[in-house]
Amino acid sequence: MEFAVVGKRIPRHDAVSHVTGRTLYGVDIVRPRMLHARILRSPHAHARIVAVDVSRASRLPGVCAITAADVPCNRYGFTHVDQPVLADDRVRHRGDAVAAVAAPTPERADEALQAIKVEYEPLPAIFDPIAALGPDAPRVHGDTNVAARVNIRYGDIERGWQESHEIIEETFRTQMVEHCHLEPHAALAELDSRGVLTVHASVQRPFLIAADLSKILGLPMNRIRVIAAAVGGGFGGKNEITMEPIVCLLALKAGRPVKAVYSREEEFQATTVRHPYIITCRTGLKREGALVARQVSILSDTGAYVSWGAWTLSKASIHAAGPYNIPHVKTEGVLVYTNNCVGGAMRGFGVPQVAFAYESHTDTLAEAVGLDPVEFRLKNMMKDGCVLPTGQVLDKVTLQQTVVRAVGLARPEEDRTP
């Protein structure tokens, strides 16, 4: 079927305004009489908050300050409602916000932050996800550091081991990385002439932000409007609220528009990151190279809060065995709290970690049975009708075509014919 517009190489509708600097990103939006917000963060990875005193900061000319006491509902989260807007009982990582100020100039706001006094009682902290599972490890929330478990079983793994001629196990580790979107998180809150609290924010999910703001601020949804204008990159890093409730509370308290922009340091320390994983792949295969069984265990460090950690672990676990036809699969995922940076959504949502593991492992397996990596993959890869470990049957499986095309592109001197 021939289409008139679909399938055409049309330049982005916003290309000209982007490259000529006319696009207004979240960081570009300003208002007359606007105040600048700054956030005070924890100097401790884990500590009890004894007292927060913003009285001296509040006395500075034009300065408005808030603490946890100003937040109507101070917990949010998707699967686990465990994260405060401003820390109250404890700080659980160094990115935790403890208080915030708004001032007529950024310099005055910095001065006001210095004037806030917080008394902490440091607590033992835990940074190693394996040690965090130990019986004596400091607890980040409640009485266990295990935040979630994901188990997926397909076939009969024990039978799979018995039917295998060779079993190979490897362990892989992935690192913590930041999204590094060029535009940092930014938000401006103002009351419009109708009394609707309007938030211009650099976010990927304005409707989720609006729903969370409604709960946190205790305002009906028709009094809140979130606009995500042009967003300078997100990659999953702008999937949840960050400073939006803070600028809203400050704007309501000060009666003026309030804007915040994160520094690059805050982006690293205080926003979500890609979870570091420890992944063990154990695979049984036949002498001639057919895959029979695979067990994958994943330990995911979610840091101080769950955020999207349980869902990323679920997506990682579902895809941990890779795009291969394996009759017996078992996946066990564990999500653990530590006092590290908070793991969240990032492009690939847990699957880049396991893809690194399963594809490195695939080459090891190919070598073990004396097959070329391409040949081994073609022999074992999923085809139409193959079943994922969740029982989902696949169709339109184009893996083989992608291999053939990639091989052709990688060796253009050898293969120029279509």
Partner: protein
């Protein structure tokens, strides 16, 4: 000495989700001059989704691309969307836009039917014209049909729709269910050059073949693949947050290095188009998957070049040199 190697990596990745509801929605209004405004909650985070949704709307209405204006990502002025996540916008919101546009189109087709003296079921529209199917000489500009819908029929052409792929929640015990509506597949092959004296890796080329269903805009699909390769290269070779007692030590882009244009390899791209019956015009998605095979393809290429298997990301020169030295001095270490 500099040694070259090649590595391959494959992947599968889902588009959208069906283990939880994640609807997308759209309103469409056609103006009396045949231009149209599409209201959709989806956020363009730089991937170009607003352009793709405008293309889908133009195709569905049968008008030129330039006739579409998009209003997006405003919780007061646009209908609900779950968000720009899960590589779902083209598939989910694209379906909602297509359906809403189809509704609006039925209104101006009905107005045109009166002029053309034909039954509405025999009409379609493309490139700004309403025409008789199989007899395109009998036609009327969309602008005239739309103007007539307002001024004579008293019925402005509007549409409103939501799309949500059927949800099946997962069994908590076995993990079984159908968590995703459809899948895309890809293969990347990396060629690297490893300096055995310094451990430094240069990625010479990446061949990338990606299935995205129908490519609504091949230019933007290629942009996504190139961006994914850049991010995957950073993940495989460069990026790592270093924490000390929970404090990020490299919290500046001078210490935490992401790839620049200078690090980018020659990229040879192929789009494998396998239209998905449930997607808008067969489209699925490309956002997240483009990154997945890059790091493992590079690390497999390093192994092919120098026989070193790095099992901890990123594959820094330090790790590669240490592994090369371990190979030269026979050690007690096992394979993992």
């Amino acid at each position: 000495m500099k040694r070259r190697g090649r590595g391959i990596a494959c992947m599968l990745y889902p588009v959208g989700a069906t283990s939880y509801p994640n609807p997308g929605s759209a309103f469409v209004k056609v103006n009396p001059d045949g231009t149209a405004v599409v209201f959709a909650g989806a956020t363009d985070v730089g991937q170009g989704s607003t352009t793709v949704l405008a293309q889908i709307a133009a195709e569905a209405l049968g008008v030129e691309f330039a006739a579409i204006t998009m209003v997006t990502a405003d919780t007061e002025h646009t209908p609900y969307d779950f968000g720009s996540v899960a590589s779902r916008v083209t598939y989910v919101v694209g379906n909602a836009v297509r359906q809403a546009a189809h509704q609006a189109k039925q209104v101006f087709l009905a107005a045109a039917a009166e002029v053309l003296k034909l039954d509405v079921s025999g009409l379609d529209s493309a490139a700004g014209w309403v025409y008789a199917k199989g007899f395109p000489e009998r036609r009327l500009p969309v602008a005239e049909a739309a103007a007539r819908a307002y001024a004579l029929s008293g019925r402005p052409p509007l549409g409103a729709s939501t799309f949500n792929a059927a949800t099946t929640f997962l069994d908590p015990e076995t993990g079984h269910g159908k968590p995703y509506p459809c899948y895309v597949f890809a293969t990347q092959i990396a060629e690297v050059e490893v300096d055995t004296e310094t451990g430094e890796v240069v990625v010479v080329s990446i061949a990338a073949a990606h299935d995205c269903g129908r490519a609504v805009n091949p230019l933007l699909v290629e942009g996504q693949i190139e961006g994914g390769i850049a991010q995957g290269l950073g993940y495989g070779l460069l990026e790592e947050m270093v924490l000390e007692e929970g404090k990020v030590k490299n919290d500046q882009l001078v210490d935490y290095v992401i790839p620049t244009m200078c690090d980018m390899p020659e990229m040879r791209l192929a789009i494998v188009e396998e239209p998905e019956p449930t997607g808008p015009y067969g489209a699925k998605g490309i956002g997240e998957p483009s990154l997945l095979p890059t790091a493992p393809a590079i690390l497999n290429a390093i192994y092919d070049a120098v026989g070193v298997r790095i099992r901890e990301l990123p594959a820094t020169p330090g790790k590669i040199l240490a592994a090369l030295q371990d190979m030269r001095v026979p050690s007690e270490r096992g394979p993992s």
